[in-house]
């Protein structure tokens, strides 16, 4: 019998792509009323007639369509049947049977996997689908509907992380595996919500912040919430890198009540990862409170950015020198402190001053002057983006 599991077939379009490559012809899926499938019986291939004569339509069963195309039954959805249409109809009978067998095998594998889905995964997938859908809409302030409230869990304050992993294996990685890993690492009550194929929203308990802050070194100032969130995210990223499937990107925001702001927060985290990856290549942790300037600059059209860089700098190629780039980045990260920068770079203070003088000579901008420093910081951000184009 055909199972009612359309969503799983739809979610796994990869095999269709592969099959299309092998057959070298067009493939498509479409729905057909079951009655039409049955009424098409006159054109059915003799080899499958016996199976079709029974009341059930079997997965992988095939027939020749109205225009002479080859149709394979994939799954039933109420009164409709989803059909895979293969444009090439000059396949041998053995090839057709092999295709039918492959489709039924795929189906049974997927059904087995689907039967292992836990209640929490089913719920998380539903919530994820709703979030993804809402993010396509212009209004991002929507509250979570009643049926997705997860027995009140979404009303409590939680830390939202957005996890993006582009490793080839990520798509195939199981939800359960990742959820288990996150529960061991963060807390038992963590929520993992799959969004896109390689994107997950992770909701962790706020108690993590307290746990991270619980001890202070003597003389140290108390860590801010943002600092704690940054160190938790860094630790999470390091753990996922070594214990999951490799490199990934993470963004985090201040704790939220997901029931009312999950959409806005997910949108913010997505934007944060996009900005972080655009302006800070090589960085895997992206924090929205550190990307204000980048957010502003990203709104400037590309041609205007390039024009601005050209006009602001006497010599743009000077920033290509890795020594100057790393010097400036360190200088800015240490609040333009010459001594600290020299210390961090393991160079003599005079060597640093010499480099900054050279920069001034080449660009007519003195990074030790506030206004010039602002300009260089902006140009540096824009330059890194425009240079890569």
């Amino acid at each position: 019998m055909l199972a009612d599991r359309g969503s799983e077939w739809m979610s796994d379009a990869k095999w269709m792509e592969q099959l299309q490559g092998i057959l070298d012809c067009s493939l498509r899926q479409f729905q057909l009323p079951v009655s039409d499938w049955r009424s098409n019986g006159t054109k059915t291939n003799r080899a499958t007639k016996s199976s079709r004569s029974t009341s059930a339509i079997k997965v992988g069963e095939h027939m020749v369509g109205q225009e002479g195309q080859l149709w394979f039954a994939l799954y039933a959805d109420g009164d409709a049947i989803t059909v895979l249409e293969i444009g090439k109809h000059q396949l041998s009978e053995t090839e057709k049977r092999l295709l039918g067998w492959m489709i039924s095998l795929l189906k049974s594998t997927q059904s087995a996997a689907a039967s292992n889905v836990t209640e929490s995964e089913r719920y998380a997938r539903e919530l994820g689908a709703w979030i993804t859908e809402q993010l396509e809409l212009p209004d991002t302030q929507l509250s979570v509907p009643e049926h997705l409230m997860a027995r009140g869990r979404l009303f409590s304050s939680m830390i939202p992380f957005l996890l993006v992993c582009e490793q080839a294996d990520a798509a195939g990685s199981s939800y359960m595996e990742l959820e288990k890993l996150l529960r061991s690492f963060l807390a038992d009550d963590v929520m993992l919500v799959p969004l896109k194929q390689q994107e997950w929203l992770v909701l962790g308990p706020v108690s993590l912040i307290r746990d991270a802050q619980s001890e202070e070194r003597e003389g140290d100032q108390e860590e801010s919430v943002e600092e704690s969130l940054a160190s938790i995210t860094l630790g999470l990223q390091e753990m996922l890198t070594s214990e999951w499937i490799g490199e990934c990107h993470l963004a985090v925001s201040q704790p939220i009540s997901p029931a009312s702001s999950i959409i806005a927060t997910t949108a913010l985290l997505r934007e944060t990862i996009h900005l972080g990856r655009t302006f800070h290549v090589g960085t895997n942790i992206h924090l929205p409170w550190l990307l204000h300037l980048e957010r502003l600059l990203s709104t400037i059209p590309e041609n205007q950015r390039a024009k601005f860089v050209e006009q602001a700098l006497k010599r743009t190629d000077f920033f290509l020198e890795p020594e100057i780039l790393s010097t400036l980045e360190t200088f800015f990260s240490l609040d333009c402190n010459v001594s600290e920068t020299a210390k961090k770079l393991y160079i003599h203070r005079n060597t640093l001053l010499y480099r900054l003088d050279k920069l001034k000579q080449e660009t007519e901008l003195d990074v030790r002057q506030f206004s010039d420093a602002v300009l260089i910081k902006i140009v540096l951000l824009l330059y890194k983006v425009t240079k890569r184009k």
Binding site: D211, R217, S231, G235, G246
Partner: protein, 381 residues
Amino acid sequence: MAGVRLEHIYKKYAGTDKASVTDVNLDIKDKEFLVLVGPSGCGKSTTLRMIAGLEDITEGKLFIGERLVNDVAPKDRDIAMVFQSYALYPHMNVYQNMAFGLKLRKFKKADIEKRVREAAKILDIEHLLERKPKALSGGQRQRVALGRAIVREPQVFLMDEPLSNLDAKLRGQMRAEITKLTKRLEVTAIYVTHDQIEAMTMGDRIVVMKDGFIQQAASPDELYNHPVNIFVAGFIGSPSMNFVNGTLSDQGGVVRFKTNGVDVVVPEGRSQLLRDRGLIGKEVILGMRPEDLHEEPVFLEASPNSIVSANVEVAENLGHEILLYMNGVGNDTVIARVDGRSNVKEGAKLKLAIDMNKVHIFDKETELNVFETKELSLEKK
């Protein structure tokens, strides 16, 4: 423990024409401490990340032990990584930080306890096991990060600039500790740094990289004394090797190197090779280590054919030695390292003897070291 073998490894990022790593071949022996060193963008970190499984390998084969691991996930490669950020898990104490990887791998509680305590003892952090990372100093955090790797007892340790966030004093201290630790644990380690002092002091073997190519893979001693090209010669050593452009001539059977302010004789034992390579009458680059320029009278008397005159611009007294920055030898500044008890002052005019048995001669076109390479027609990397 196991060795690591890289066979014709390439890394090319999508949308770029140039490979970031080109044809890397390395056979890292079991228990070897290998250092990948080179300037920023040379491909050393990319190579390490491919070994770690954090970057896909575009082409080539990677073996850990006898296992081909190109398509094996990082967690299944039996490696442990320590990175520059050495991010600890802030919500866990030191014990939990070190035990986490073992817990995931379903080790028995008693085994975890044993391994963590042993590693803590080796790293001298037993007294910190109950503390949270926030309550630790930079050096202590670094030790915990190492401990987290040690307890796993992996086949290979991978370290990417693990000391670069530490201050200079702690960096020196940890350098020695990591070396001692890896020897004691008898592990295979691959260590990435841009710091040639770290490379020279830590590695059993050093791989110098530039623009994605391996320039030379050799022991620290071999690299320092027998660099195969001008890049390696200039990169290894502090202060760097001095390079002077000049011409070789053969006058009455004696090969001489001449340039502005320099007319010195190449020892007979080394001259024939220069003749055989057809370099007589051609422009070459003479490479001299700062310690191969001598101002001691004994040396000057013994080397009358390799004396040059120089003007001392700056004398940096480091106590046990003095670095002299001079002009008059070729067109650029030349640095000599002389004894700390020497009396040389800034502004002095000085006679120096070059130890011509230790100098290097580089082909100007290929930049290869004439004395260290068989062919000069090798492609310049």
